[in-house]
């Protein structure tokens, strides 16, 4: 197999999924890049995920209470789903439309929102935004239940424009008010009872109830809206339609996509003042958006097929998010190919590293890039990987060591040890400096002989631990 080819597929799988093992990479590379893209975008096929089993192993997920079981199950999907791009795109939308448990204390509605992204995240943006506006989680998160005819609450109207579609500077304060007016009466059914229930907030004996969207016509401001220069019927759908026709929206979504899937951009608040890292790429994505009736999937297809994506200058130009670190390591160790309550602790590690899923720090979502890293969570990242690669009996670790033996015949110089270990971890590339330090490290014990006994195999695993500790491994 041509190395460059495998490395390109590895890049694709880090971005369109959560990484891939050496074996998977070889299979995909044998089919070729185009076939891999087709496989990724075939979202109709069985994803291999069994919800009934997840419910048994994560009863709190089933009960819709806290988020621990749900996050564990999501992590299981990231590792095992046969449609990894669906999971990655779901995570993408969760970052853009960040909604959090901290304010809601309602598990089920958040699970529903994430499931909605999974189902509609590739479809057309107007549909996605209307569905989002009807999610009880979003209604409560941004106070649209307090948005009444004659007494508007602008929170949702504003964030819809500022954080979910157009970005600041592309609308006026009047537009915010008009958008808010159009969403009056979009609320949660049976609020009084639900509020009482939330106040009592006892899990016993019935657990928390699910919430439902309700349109209250008598609380809806019927007066025609004057929004972004359009006069239209007062309706949330009209606002969304007008938003989706805007070039600002296409650019905003394109920049998010570029930053999430291609290379780290600075955070959103600086976008009005900082041009895109690759303006041509944004242009291409914007074109795809308008040519295909505001569909998300064609934008992503164009992205992954574009030269700007394949170009080596964008490889490793993203700092991995904690979920990418954890899912990536656990894909390699292969210890979670089945449902397992122990996954709760692994999902907890994602939170400890700074990305509590379904509980973002604010409606702005997580800041990405080097903001993922501080002294505390760098230690967590390195130790997480180290403690997962240190057991030579784990199926994935065993497989990587077997692959190592197969490639080297069991004899390797320090240089070769490092080189083949990097390859076994998913065609990973690191700087010459880091590689040099790893070789020096390996040289302490001289050339390696793996004769089937544990000592040699442990030295290989030790090299996996050190590779996972490199600064480069924090990027993907």
């Amino acid at each position: 197999m041509e190395t460059k080819n495998v490395e390109l597929i590895a890049h694709l799988m880090r971005r369109a999924g959560f990484g891939a093992t050496r074996t998977e990479l070889e299979e995909l590379a044998a089919q070729g890049y185009e076939a891999t893209i087709d496989w990724l975008f075939n979202t109709e096929k069985d994803d291999g995920i069994e919800i009934d089993l997840a419910r048994r192993y994560h009863p709190d997920y089933s009960g819709g209470l806290g988020m621990a079981g749900f996050n564990a199950f999501w992590l299981h999907r990231m590792i095992n789903s046969q449609t990894p791009l669906v999971e990655k795109t779901t995570l993408f939308w969760h970052g853009v439309f960040a909604t959090g448990y901290a304010k809601l204390a309602q598990g089920r509605v958040l699970m529903d929102q994430i499931e909605m992204f999974r189902e509609h995240g590739f479809g057309d943006l107007p549909n996605l935004l209307v569905k989002l506006s009807k999610e009880p989680s979003m209604i409560l998160w941004l106070d649209n239940n307090d948005n009444h005819s004659g007494a508007i609450n602008e929170n949702y109207g504003r964030e819809l424009l500022e954080l979910f579609s157009m970005g600041v500077g592309n609308y006026t304060e009047d537009d915010v008010k008009e958008a808010s007016r159009a969403f009056t009466g979009w609320t949660v059914a049976n609020t009084d009872y639900m509020t009482m229930k939330a106040r009592n907030d006892s899990l016993w004996p019935y657990g928390r109830l699910n919430l439902h969207f309700e349109f209250r016509e008598n609380d809806h401001d019927q007066l025609e809206i004057d929004f972004l220069g359009h006069r239209d019927k007062s309706a949330g759908e009209s606002v969304v339609d007008i938003i989706c026709q805007q070039e600002a929206t296409a650019i905003f979504i394109a920049r998010h996509m570029y930053s999430f899937f291609v290379a780290d951009e600075p955070p959103v608040p600086s976008w009005p003042y900082t041009p895109p890292r690759d303006p041509k790429a944004i242009e291409m994505l914007v074109e795809a958006y308008f040519e295909n009736g505001y569909q998300i999937k064609p934008m992503l297809q164009r992205l992954f097929q574009a030269d700007f994506f394949k170009d080596e200058t964008v490889w490793y130009e993203k700092v991995k998010s904690p979920s990418e670190v954890v899912a990536g390591v656990l894909r390699l160790t292969g210890e979670y190919d089945d449902y397992d309550p122990a996954m709760n602790a692994e999902a907890g590690s994602v939170g400890v590293m700074g990305q509590s899923l379904v509980n973002p720090p604010s409606v702005e979502g997580w800041h990405w890039g080097d903001e993922w890293i501080d002294t505390g969570n760098l230690v967590e990242r390195v130790n997480f990987a180290s403690s997962h690669f240190n057991d030579v009996t784990k199926p994935g670790v065993r497989q990587m060591i077997d692959g190592f033996v197969l490639s080297t015949g069991g004899h390797a110089s320090p240089e070769r040890l490092v080189e083949v270990c990097l390859d076994q971890m998913g065609a990973v590339q690191i700087s010459h400096e880091s590689q040099g330090h790893l070789v020096a490290h390996a040289a302490r014990d001289g050339s390696l002989e793996v004769n089937g006994e544990d000592a040699g195999r442990r030295r290989v695993a030790e090299m996996f631990q050190l590779i996972a500790a490199t600064p480069e491994f924090q990027k993907g």
């Binding site: 505390g376 760098l378 330090h437 600064p471």
Partner: protein, 385 residues
Amino acid sequence: MVSTTEDKKLVVVQLSGGNDYLNTVVPYASGDYYDFRGSIKIDPEDVIPIDDEIGLRPGLNSIKRLWDQGKVAIIHGIGYANPNRSHFRSMDIWHTALPEDIGNEGWLGRTTRDLDPKGENVLTAVNFGRGLPRALGCRGVPVASVGNLETYGLFPDMQDDDLRKFALDTFSKMYGAAGAGGPVMEFLGQTGTDAMKGADILRTAVERYQSNVEYAGNSIASSMRDAAQVMFADLGTRIFYTQQGSYDTHAGELATHQKLWSDLDGAIGDFVDDMDEHDAADDTVIMVFSEFGRRIKDNGSGTDHGSGGVAFLIGNSVKGGQYSYYPSIKEKDHLEGDLRFNNDFRMTYTTLLEDWFGLDAVPIVNGTFEKFDFFANGNGSNGAH
């Protein structure tokens, strides 16, 4: 020794899950208390009285000893307007000091920035426990988070000391050389180097620590012991944060609550003794808080989420006594079934920030709040109005 504000330290103990105020500081003279608490109650003969009306729950022997020495301030009825009974949201409010908005800067993160504006000391604030509480989160402010001080650092899974040292050496070389790879690599390199530095310094704390105090083996005692080791190593740490839980006693409250408070009482007692032995007690104040209290009426086996709660300030510099007042337990005074809060938690924060740390509290707690006078040198009130 004349101490200056530069020596002042704050130890925060967070009781996660919502501590039951009524069964912590017990209104044992109140018939209403026993009426509403049919089963989840502390009998009058078990209470450790501090006056004719209220007393401490059984097991709080160290806190009682410190109370008798005039070193414990009880802040009654602490909370905030429009109480939220979600753990996450309410804890968030305490952490960000923002009851009405979603904030992303922790009040102690901001405090750390003000205490060490140039970020010269990576250990100005240290959390003892895994993962950083939002109270300490603030962009650009380095904060160390220590799960277990003895094994703190990189590669704790490597059992062989020699192997680990060698791995650390390689780590240090790789991160030291990363600067050449562009701004992100430079940042990564610096962070890795800082993390190593923090870990190296913290390890010396364990080596240098000597004490006659023997802490218990439970988790809050270990955390307090870790905090003591860091404190006595003089690393410039000003904020120590730890938590204990879960106080979310919906069921089986009596046994759980007893265990948690006994552990905590022992840990606080040992920690104070340890500080006395190391001449650190005058410069340290401990704050104990929880995100909310619990319902007045029990549910038969435990209690559900409530609002108004209690906080404690403990230390040699604290003017012992009761601050504000115990909220009424009479049914007509309930707030949706809960004790009505009567002082904003940001009054306590403001007092700590201004009268202890000598900082301007307004930008940290997002507003101007009246102060208590629980510091002998302070100029606040006792809030009993």
